[in-house]
Each structure stands twice: as structure tokens, then as C-alpha cells.
Amino acid sequence: MEGEGRGYLLRVLDTVVIGGGPAGLAAAIKSCEYGLSTLLIEVNDRLGGIPLQCIHPGFGIHYFKEDLTGTEFIERLIRRFMDLGINYLLRAYVRDIVIKSHDLKVVKVISPKGTYELLTRTVIYAAGARERHIHEIGVVGDRPAGIYTAGEVQAMMDIYGLLPGREAVIIGSGDVGLIVARRLALEGVKVVAVIELMPWPGGLTRNVIQCLRDFNIPLLLSHVVTKVHGRKRVEGVTVARVGNDLRPIEGSEEFIRCDTVIIAAGLVPNTDLLERIGVLIDPRTRGPVVNELLETTIPGIFVAGNALVINDLVDNVVEQGELAALGARVFIENDGIPTTEWVRVKCGSNVRLVVPQLVSGERDVKLYLRVLKPLTNARVRIGGVGVVSYVPKAMPAEMTVINLRRGSLPKELKELVVEVVSE
């Protein structure tokens, strides 16, 4: 019920959820089930977020116990949200959050219906991520028409039914790049090559098989696009091999003809608003530093989904949304999170990032971590605790999730160093 009643303008809400994608919807559903008065704010003209343009399967195997497409998954989640009659605003943009006191925030919103100042005790920030663009990956040269991000291509093809071009080069072999390569090939676009900087593919093996090998699309590992050529429209790219230092090797340059360049160089959490209000950001995740209830360094402001850390499974995103809702509930019931001593979680050997960054040992916690390099028969070891998990195949493309049981931390521990090692 969009904007119905407007009761939320007059009283203090328990929680305002920012973002109507999987993390925000899951957070709002859970908050509502906990009995918290909840309002969700979405910037687009419909609920759903990015899964609306994900027509491929692989969603919801854990959450719905079924292999769904992104679109099917999100429609189910939207239905749950609607069935609960949760209030929401569409085409609404949050321009500021003002911290009035420990227990009261003002969320300032602009929408075509007017401007609102919402009073709330907690905020769950689930604004997702943005794509890295061509200016961030060191590609010089011309800037003609025909350069897109992978997400833009998905929206063009799978929402609006438009092809981006005829011959494409894709930069980046993460799952998004691979999935877009398959969609292009299926629709008759020639994918000339997928270019990957690292010596291994960025995405899951199964996507390399079913998206590239099935369609005979070349994957150039340890390669980089150094330059784009073209006057009005892209005419080609210069590609070079890279050495161990990941710098282009002189003399290895090669021209590849194409009319479209697609950037699939990863995602960055959307944290502009949070940074502006003073939330501490972790340089590793590029998302906020959070405790085990996903509370940021500002009390009562929680974060979930790709705004927290870039996930590869929507199931993890939904789980984080639900956990943030639990955080909001604990905050409201106790007038703040009732933990005084936090243990800092740190990245050890072969760990690129870990979330949450602060744990207490008072609750069961899931640690989400990503490795730097692929490792088979890996063990996750925590300093002072021991080996906590065995991972047959630890891959950078795949988040490693470990469960830390309540009470498993030694009392005197001041920091937790997590490492992923062989042996």
C-alpha cells in the first residue's frame, strides 16, 4: 500500500528501510514480522531492485529451496512484502539522515509527491551497489558511443528488449560478465572475447562452462584492455598481456575489432549517504564497518546486502536483511545494542575481506569472507580458537561462510585473526 494513510508522517517509526531490492524487502518483511512499525523507501518506480533484470536461474536455492530466476525470486519476495501490507514509498530519494539523539533519526526524503521528514528509531540501509565503470579500471583512449556496464546491458536487453551492438568485448570475467556474455551470444551478438586481468576466471567454474565454453567464447586470462578506439562508435580495443605485476607487457599489444565494450569489472557498495553522515568505512569491503547485528558505527543505523559487502548469492543478501531487522529489534528492545566489549575481526593470510568486523561471542555469528587466491583443501583458522571450517575449494568468486558458535571465543581475546590456509 504505497503511501496509504500517511500515519508514518505523524509518529516515530521503529524502522525505515532504505532500498526495495532483496536486502531491503527481506529486512522490511522481518521487521514487520517482529512487530516493528516499518516503512520502506525505494528510488525506482517499482519494487524489486536489480533482480528484475536477472532473467537467469541460480536464485533462492537456500531461501525458497528452489532454483529460480532472479525475476521469479524477487516477485515471490515482493508478494510476501505485499501480503504483510507494509508501507512503502516509490520514486523516493533519501537525501539526508539527521541523528537527533541516540534513539531518534530524521530521514529526509524527496519524491514526486512532496518532501517528507520521517522520524524513526532505527534505519536499515539497503541501497545496494554500483558498478565500477571504465574510468576506474585504467582504460584510456576514445570515448565513443558503445561503452556500457554489464548491468546497463542487462537492463537494455532483458527489460527493454534492445541489443547494445553486434560485436562485443567484455572486460572482466566475474559472474556478471559471464552471464551477460551468454545472453549476448544467445541473442545473436558476437562476443569477440572476455578479457580478464587475473590468471584465473573471476566467476564460478560452472559459469565459465555454461556461459563461455558452450558458445565458444574466448576467455583471455592475464590480459587487459589498454585503449578504446572509435570516433562516433566503438571501432575496437587494444588488448595486452600482463606480467606477474599485472602491468601490460610492452610489445604484446593487439587490436581487436568490435563495436561494443562492456565493463563487468565488479561492484562497489553504495555508501555515499552513510559516509556523509560519518559512518566508518572498511577499505577492504568498501562498505561500512559493522558489528554482528550489522549495526554501523552510528548506533541504530544498520546495513545489509550489497551496500554492506558485495555478495555472490541473493540468499546471503536476504539473510543479511533479516539479520539487520533482528538488529533493529534488539536495539529497540534494549534502547541500544546491549554489548559493551567488541572483538575486532581481522584478515590474516589469504583473506581479502571479512564481515562483520566486530563480534562479541555472545551470539551465534556467521562470518562472510573472501579469499585472495584460489585454494583447494583449505582450512579456515582463527587465531586463539583453532580450525573452524574445512573448505574443499576456496575461490575468490565465492563467499566463504563460517559459523561461529556463541561462547566459542576465549574471554581474554582482543582480536580475531581469520586465515585460510592449506595443510
Binding site: P57, T69, E72, D158, I159, L204, R206
Partner: protein, 124 residues
């Protein structure tokens, strides 16, 4: 004379991506090694006999918001029929509104699977 062939298959069922070796003797599968689960074993056998994939695409939705409906085959189809399915989908149109789960084409090309809508589409 008997011929023994060993075919390596990378499983695409789950993110682990097992490397599976299927051994074929005189056209019969005699062993499957390396699969960590039964689904993977089944996949590997199908993959060497008759590889299949689920096809995903979008079709035009006349008078719809958005102007397309995303679709999938309700089950995997033989790999060498993917292009036939895609050519048919390129010509297929539906009228808004469409509900997720609606069957767009029943028993597509006699392959025993349906074309199903995977996204709703309201009237624009």
C-alpha cells in the same frame, strides 16, 4: 574391437564445480568418477550422452510495462535445439498483462517442455 573413451566433464549443478571423468566402453557408460553427489553423477552422464540446457530469454510484450516478458524453458532442452528455440522466441509476442508462471508455449517444438513467463508484466 572394443574402444574405451574417458571424457572429462566439469559439473555445473552447484558452485563447487566437480571435475568428473566419465568412462565409456562400446558406447556404454562403465564408470563415473569425481562427482561429490548423485545429481552431479546424473549430470555427467547426460552431458556425455545428450547435453542439455535450460534456455532463458525475453519476448516482446505488446502494451506491457516493461515492454518485455522474461521466459525460460520449464526444463533443460538438448543443446543442439537451443537455436531452434531462440529463433521461435524471437518471433513470439504476448499481450499484457502476463503473470509470472504463465505458460506462453506448451510443449515447445515437441521437446516436452514449456516456455514459461518468469516475470509479470502489467499494462502500460
Amino acid at each position: 574391437m572394443s574402444s574405451v573413451r574417458r571424457i572429462k566433464v566439469t559439473c555445473i549443478i552447484c558452485p563447487i564445480g566437480c571435475e568428473i571423468t566419465v568412462t565409456i566402453k562400446d558406447g556404454e557408460v562403465i564408470s563415473v568418477e569425481g562427482a561429490k553427489c548423485l545429481r552431479g553423477r546424473k549430470y555427467a552422464i547426460t552431458e556425455v550422452r545428450e547435453p542439455k540446457r535450460v534456455v532463458i530469454s525475453v519476448i516482446k510484450c505488446v502494451g506491457g510495462d516493461p515492454p518485455t516478458v522474461s521466459v525460460k524453458t520449464s526444463g533443460p532442452v538438448p543443446k543442439d535445439r537451443i537455436w531452434d528455440v531462440m529463433r521461435l522466441l524471437a518471433r513470439t509476442e504476448v499481450k499484457a498483462p502476463v503473470e509470472v508462471g504463465d505458460v506462453i508455449i506448451k510443449d515447445v517444438l515437441g521437446l516436452g517442455v514449456d516456455i514459461v513467463a518468469t516475470r509479470s508484466c502489467r499494462k502500460s
